[in-house]
Amino acid sequence: MAGFTKKIRLILTGALFFGILVSEHLSAARLGYLEQMPLEAFAKLREIERYQLKIAEKFYISGDYKAAASEYEKFLTLYERSAGGPYSLLMWSHCQVKLRLVNTAVREGFKSVIDYWPESNEAILSTFMIGNCHLLQGEPKKAEKVFDSVVIDYPKHYLATLAQVELLGIAAIRKDEERQVELWTSIAFRTAKTKATATHRSMASRSLAMYYFREGEFPQGVEALSVYFEKDNGGFVRYTHEIGASAVGQLFRTDATKARATKLAGQVISFLEERLPADVSRDKSKAQARDVLGRIASIHKTIDRDKEVIAAYERMGKILGMDDGVLGEIAAWHKSKKRMEQARSVYGRYADKVNGRRAVAGSFREEKKYEEAVRHYLALIGLDKEREATWQQDVVSTWRDSSQWDKAIATYRTLLTVDPDRHSDWNWGIAECYEKKRQWPQAIQSYRQTDNYPEGYFRMAECNRHLKKWTEGLVLLNQAKSHENVADRAQHRIAQFYELAGKKENAIKSFQITCKKYPKSRYASISHAHLQTKYGISVTLGGATDK
């Protein structure tokens, strides 16, 4: 028995320890890289110090930066000689930045970390943060100096990469392409290949490739991408194609660069052709061939080569078999070229007849041949009865597109029997149709049968507005006002209702209430401006601070 209890205790302790570890890991994950404490330093802390930091961190994560700053300050006062000192001061400075006290953060926080603990990891973070603060203050020159020093002083540190990313941002604002290329090259080629730097290396590789592609230097672009995607052939092909297509598209827009676009398109296609697997008997190579051929077709699309696009898809059909996927691509291309009949004939070749017919119906809808579209959607019910609700939804959307409200209402009523679980949605649709028909009482009745509140109150109030039933409208808006998240909107609408009803004094009072009760809302802004322009009233009340 004693052994059993011991076992349970052990399991419980283990679970607790695991729980603490997980929770610590999760909370750490919520903090950014610049806000995290090195594990070695954390290990040196006493339990009471850790507890104090956890309290501060809790406030920090919840966004209560003022309280968090006090807690970090308390840590510094209580445990002056602790290993967590620099971290605590760093976090205090982060709190100041969040509280928009950037100068204070630099002067009393980050600089002090560097002065008191120059050898700590936090000192490096602080240096970087000083650069960031300069950027927040709109001083890119000072920031540039700081980031440069980080890159030179700590070349192996992750922050060197981050600093280069910030430098890229500065160069982009200055439209200094030369510097951008220099930094992209440095990040893509010379940064340590770690998991942490992956995002930045990927970004730099892609940007550099884009630059080289636009400049007509395809091999350099490919080389830039290959540095990052050396172990990921799929990604390499994908990004070469995507960036290549984007560059081709950009160059193809102007007559002066059209020749370059065509040349680049040829290079991208050749690159893709080289990646086409010779043997497509295996599923993996089949998928690869489909992907590559699809990309080749898309390049042809970018430079508007009609015949080549069709040829590329037919080639795909020959190699992989003419399945619905390939047919869909061909039909989509025909549709984009406004060849609807050809597109429909391709849809007719679908192995999946349901999908084919749905696509045909969609093409009629695009052509605004609504009756034809509905005929095909209704035929789908016969083909696939189980998904009747889906087809009826397509029908109702078609009737709505064609502004045939009565037919839409009838279809919604059918939906009420086919799919009664979503009765609120269908009633909402019916109400909207009645609104379009300007049948306000029926619309109100349908809105009442929905459970979409408080939006329903607003809609019903609008219907009452059309009926000039001001009192009913105001009652509904006051009901909506009880919902805290729309109270400002409701109050503003109440004022407008009074205005429309010709009750000027009530309207002014209500607009003023909007300003006074919800001074931070955008409705306060609208009410304030309206009171001034419409009524010439300057005393609009309101007024607030950004606290």
Binding site: K141, A524, S525, A529, G543
Partner: protein, 534 residues
């Protein structure tokens, strides 16, 4: 009327015309200058000062010109433009005389006199309202005068064209001796004189000109006159509005001070409560209060522990300023929107700035068009201009260039206040994107000097959140070149403070003071650095 009387009258008329022409010419110069919102007085003053200085150096041998300054500028403390006050008032005398004379003249001459007299009266009214500081009335008078001028001009043009046209018709009728084949009703809008076949008339006053066609010539001529007049009027108005006049100066008030926060001083005053000495043998019994109770009254007062200003100098001001310099509040006029929204509040802010900093200020706020900013020379331009509105901002390329020059070369600052819509905020951001294309905006930190000196403002106050709740800034070389307030700070400066709570409008005044002071202090630093580099 005897011959002698006729001669005497004609002589008197000639004299009157000469005197009126002289006064009219003077008035025209003043008016032209003033509608461009430039103070010709300052220019005249400068020229006069130079002449007097030359006389003094030549004949007295002393080169000090301070007393002229004081005489010319401080003799007329009430008026901003004393020369214009005199000039416009003088023009009333010939107006009165001519109005008196008009009664004796034929209707045509009488109406012509009335028409001419409208101009000086209109401008005197507009100018008077401006001098009184009644900006809304000034704007109304200016617009009403423009409308009257348009209608009056249209009337005279129509009359003139009609007369000429009729004369030509009559002349042709006399030659041909027969009416054209038109009925009485048609003659209301068609020519009644027949044109010789084969002739092609080009005279636009002639209804039978080929371009009026063969039917409804009168209607076409009238429409042509109307559109022609409209285009000419618009062109003239645009031309006058473009006129930016001569150079003008902005000088900061001389003095000195520190660019530091106001000190909060807490004065502790001990109030010792009355102590009761009780006779233990007394028949009256009451509970004495604790003898040791001392009530402390803490009175927090804020006082200037230093002079608000920048640099070394006597009195509050700026080391780069001059004795005649003043802090002026200049509002920018721009097309497309309501630049003059809440303009009456500008004076309140100016007065509050004076009360809070003790800097010398101008009598009243001013307005300038964007194009006029180029008239200020480098080193003597306004450190800050204010703009607000809630509609559109439409500035052309030349105006954008002027604004860029003002912000960068002239080291000026733009204080923008969103007066009523998110749209205006977006327009302003787009404008700044064109003015300073390589400068992204930042959210101004709450501990930035502009939010700290002289008043520490722990939050951003606003009347309504038209464009968010953050103050934005465009920073050039570490200096805020444009400050954007998102929530109608100008409304809080108005007499009724838009009904917002006292702490909010007080903070709005403090923020306004901070922004104006920041711009002047930065301008002073720049002047100092220029001096050093020279």
């Amino acid at each position: 009327m005897s011959e002698a009387e006729t001669v005497s009258r004609s002589l008197r008329l000639r004299q009157a015309i000469v005197v009126t022409s002289i006064i009219g010419a003077g008035w025209l110069i003043l008016w032209f200058d003033w509608i461009a919102h430039l103070s010709v007085a300052s220019d005249i003053h400068l020229q006069l000062s130079r002449v007097l200085l030359w006389i003094q150096i030549e004949f007295v041998g002393v080169g000090n010109w301070t007393w002229y300054d004081e005489w010319l500028w401080f003799k007329w403390p009430t008026y901003q433009n004393p020369v214009e006050v005199i000039g416009f008032c003088l023009s009333l005398f010939p107006v009165a005389w001519w109005l008196q004379q008009a009664r004796k003249e034929s209707p045509l001459v009488r109406y012509a006199i009335y028409s001419f007299c409208i101009f000086p009266i209109w401008h005197l009214l507009t100018f008077a309202f401006y001098e009184m500081g009644w900006m809304t009335l000034k704007a109304m008078a200016a617009r009403a005068g423009l409308c009257i001028t348009f209608v009056m001009g249209l009337g005279w043009t129509t009359f003139w064209v009609e007369r000429k046209s009729r004369a030509l018709q009559v002349a042709r009728l006399e030659i041909s001796g027969a009416l054209a084949n038109v009925g009485p009703l048609q003659s209301m809008h068609a020519s009644v004189a027949g044109v010789e076949i084969g002739s092609r008339i080009w005279n636009p006053f002639d209804m039978d000109a080929w371009f009026y066609g063969r039917q409804r010539q009168k209607l076409r001529q009238s429409l042509s006159v109307l559109f022609g007049y409209l285009i000419a009027f618009i062109l003239i108005v645009l031309l006058l509005l473009q006129a930016s006049g001569c150079q003008e100066l902005y000088e900061m008030p001389a003095g000195g001070g520190e660019q530091k926060q106001l000190q909060q001083v807490v004065k502790v005053q001990k109030v010792i409560k009355k102590k009761f000495i009780i006779n233990p043998l007394s028949s009256v019994i009451f509970n004495p209060p604790p003898l040791e109770e001392i009530k402390l009254q803490l009175l927090e007062i804020t006082k200037h522990a230093y002079q608000v200003g920048y640099g070394k100098g006597a009195g509050a001001g700026f080391s780069g300023g001059t004795n005649r310099g003043k802090v002026r509040f200049i509002r920018l006029e721009y097309s497309g929107g309501d630049w003059d929204q809440g303009i009456d509040a500008d004076l309140n802010m100016l007065i509050q700035y004076n009360l809070r900093t003790q800097h010398k200020i101008a009598e009243r706020p001013e307005t300038r068009k964007v194009a006029q900013l180029k008239n200020f020379p480098v080193g003597k331009s306004p450190p800050v201009v204010y703009m607000t509105g809630q509609k559109n901002i439409s500035l052309g390329k030349s105006e954008t260039d002027v604004l860029r020059g003002f912000l960068i070369e002239k080291h000026g600052m733009l204080f923008a206040d969103n007066g009523g819509s998110a749209h205006w905020g977006n327009q302003f951001k787009a404008l700044m994107g064109r003015v300073l294309p390589n400068v992204p905006y930042i959210r101004v930190p709450l501990d930035h000097p502009i939010h700290r000196v002289p008043y520490p403002i722990p939050f951003l106050p606003y009347v309504a959140p038209h464009g968010g709740t953050d103050a934005l800034a465009w920073v050039v070389d570490g200096r805020i070149a444009a400050y954007y307030h998102p929530g109608d700070i100008g409304d809080a400066w108005a007499d009724d403070h838009a009904g917002v709570p006292t702490p909010i409008w007080e903070a709005c005044y403090q923020l306004g003071t901070n922004v104006i002071f920041y711009a002047h202090a930065e301008y002073n630093k720049w002047l100092d650095s220029r001096k050093k580099s020279d």
